[in-house]
């Protein structure tokens, strides 16, 4: 149980009578209230007579996804709900940052919601994902706890990373989210290794690896394509092409016919989809991930989309024309999903109610995060390393 000692945890205590003897039952829970250990204490309450670690079952995703085939409307409703949650989350956080109440800075993924939602809805809970510096949507789509993510962005102790990671390093291993990443293309080698490790452990889980169009110009992109191909690893590479490499239009920085052609040059096959069409993304991701899971080797999904915001919350994106932005807004993935949902038969009043529900949920989460405590200063010195830990 040594490996649990580095975790922050709190103790819940209760008393139970067993065969007439009063005993203490201790339950250790971690910072997101997951039980990690149960101990039944002896009569003097100082020595456990029985202990066991608890492997917490994965928390349910944002919501279990209804079947695409049996209930198309409910399925679309859930995809839309997730996209709406990401949009409101991003807009709320950008506003909070601009108001000076959220530390750091925010890389908003507004406008790109169809990609994480379309892909993650095609994954299993035990599938893993790697993410980017623009990673809130990936986490939320994979089922990360909303409150935990909000608290993390506020730098609070109850955040998913205890306030130590913040926006750019938010991770939630309980749902297979192996971390946002402050380094462009940083997740690509990690995804390859995670797939290799899962195979060694006998798992048939796959890894979806999100990265942007800027990442295709970094060395680890080429290394990773080649690597995944030679070992036939179950990786779904997802190029979330939001048109910009930080503050620069990617057409001026990327040669050749695009990301998919580069992957194909290493023998990694895939598809290009409209990254604003959540259903198209979902269907392609389902096809490709099934092939990868079945042993077909890595697959590549090039999802073309558009970043509505600047690179970071303080960037007015003066480098792009209003006409470009207007064209993108006319193809807003959230509006498209909403229209599809209406067409599938959900009445406008129900969609509006869903919108309000999501909005309220995120505002409640924000209000909660505001009131939570910051981590104690002693936390700065914890979880560095065991051998040679800071004195």
């Amino acid at each position: 149980m040594r490996h649990l000692l580095h975790r922050r945890w709190r103790l819940h205590e209760a008393f139970v009578k067993i065969n007439g003897i009063k005993r203490g039952l201790w339950r250790a829970v971690d910072h997101i209230e997951h039980p990690v250990c149960l101990s039944l204490m002896g009569a003097r309450l100082d020595v456990p007579v029985a202990s066991r670690e608890v492997t917490a079952p994965p928390r349910p995703s944002l919501m279990q996804i209804p079947s695409h085939k049996t209930d198309h409307c409910a399925f679309l409703r859930e995809l839309y709900r997730r996209m709406k949650a990401i949009r409101v989350f991003e807009d709320t956080c950008v506003a909070a940052h601009k108001a000076g109440e959220m530390p750091g800075y925010i890389h908003s993924s507004a406008g790109q919601e169809a990609v994480p939602v379309g892909v993650c809805s095609a994954l299993r809970t035990d599938d893993r994902i790697t993410s980017t510096h623009r990673g809130h949507g990936h986490g939320l789509a994979k089922g990360s706890d909303l409150d935990g993510m909000m608290a993390e962005l506020y730098g609070k102790e109850a955040g998913l990373c205890g306030g130590k990671g913040g926006s750019m390093h938010v991770a939630d291993f309980s749902v297979g989210m192996l971390g946002a990443n402050g380094i462009v293309a940083g997740g690509i080698p990690i995804a390859c290794g995670a797939a290799q490790g899962l195979r060694l452990l006998g798992s048939d889980a796959i890894v979806a690896c999100f990265f942007g169009d800027g990442a295709v110009n970094r060395g680890p992109f080429l290394e990773g394509m080649n690597w995944a191909a030679i070992y036939k690893l179950p990786v779904l590479f997802v190029c979330e092409d939001n048109t910009f490499s930080a503050f620069t239009h990617s057409s001026t920085t990327t040669a050749g016919p695009g990301p998919l052609a580069r992957a194909e040059s290493c023998g990694v096959s895939g598809e290009r989809v409209d990254g604003n069409d959540v259903l198209a993304v979902h269907e392609a991701a389902l096809r490709l991930s099934s092939e990868a899971r079945a042993g077909g080797g890595p697959r590549f999904l090039w999802a073309k989309t558009y970043r509505f915001s600047g690179h970071v919350s303080v960037d007015p994106a003066a480098y792009r024309s209003q006409a470009d932005l207007d064209a993108a807004l006319a193809h807003d993935p959230l509006a498209l999903a909403r229209a599809k949902l209406a067409k599938a038969g959900l009445p406008e009043a129900d969609i509006a109610a869903l919108d309000s529900e999501v909005q309220a949920d995120i505002l409640r989460s924000q209000a909660r995060a505001r009131t939570l405590p910051y981590p104690h200063r002693a936390q700065a010195f914890m979880d560095v390393q065991d051998m040679g830990a800071p004195a």
């Binding site: 192996l178 940083g186 060694l200 680890p220």
Partner: protein, 324 residues
Amino acid sequence: MSSNTLTMGEVAARTLADEMRRDPTIWVLGEDVEMGGIFAQYKGLFQEFGAQRVVNTPISESTIMGAGLGAALVGTRPVIEMRIADFVLPAIDELVNQIAKVRYMFGGQARASLVARMPHGLMAGSAAQHSQIIESWFVNVPGLVVAAPSTALDLAGLLRTALRSDDPVVFFEPKALFKTSADMPDDWPAIPFGKAAHLSAGDDVTIVSWAQAMPVAKTAAAELADARVGVDLFDLRSLWPWDRDAIVASVARTRRLVVVQEGVGAAGFGAEVAATVGEAVSALKGIRRVASPRIPVPFAPTLEEACWIRPGMITKAVKEVLAL
């Protein structure tokens, strides 16, 4: 030679094989590990454990390092082979930005339980990109453990500890010594990090060294002993954590310290040892650092000589501090 005489490479391979038999989640990835590695430190492992656990990789250092991390994040224990320490530089993002920090950044959710092995040190004729000593860079990175053994028994013992710990360990191995032989005892037990080997006791001067400079320091210490100089000699074996207590206690007694290292002295690990002792020992009489000059390692033997640590440099430094 007795039957227990083994090269350092053989000791390294046998130790890893032992650990791989004990723990099925340990596996190896790196260039040319299938043929046993360029120093024979993986010899026989591919034959015993197969291609799933001894993975021959492309020359893709970033991904060798990063894939090792990914595999650790799902619960395996990779041994990442870098071939030589110079080649970790294309993988520095994966090691410094990712591996060293995941546990901390993710609030303890994840551990990068892995060993990144990188043979290092001067090797004759290897020049500027194959002969560097960059160990101190990694001491400066929170999250990393840094090992730098100089003997086969220490390499075996520290490797065992590294493979049984949850920390990421940067494991520097003395590459010019892999072919040297040693008489090995029957047991090669795990050795804790942060515990120096006390090689000889003396009251006149403390000599601290590690890695490939260590055999040179031993030679110098023997010469000094012949000249009736009492040398308190230490092999640090690991640089983070390092045995600060033993060294400070020794210098508190001898009041004189000579630190001997290969590689550039400026901001080298010897500087950390000297500064720590300087802060902790009030009645200090003198400190000297013996190290390489701040030049790239040159090729021509006559030039390369400028980088090698020779026993005479150590005895000279000792005489200087004794005169203080």
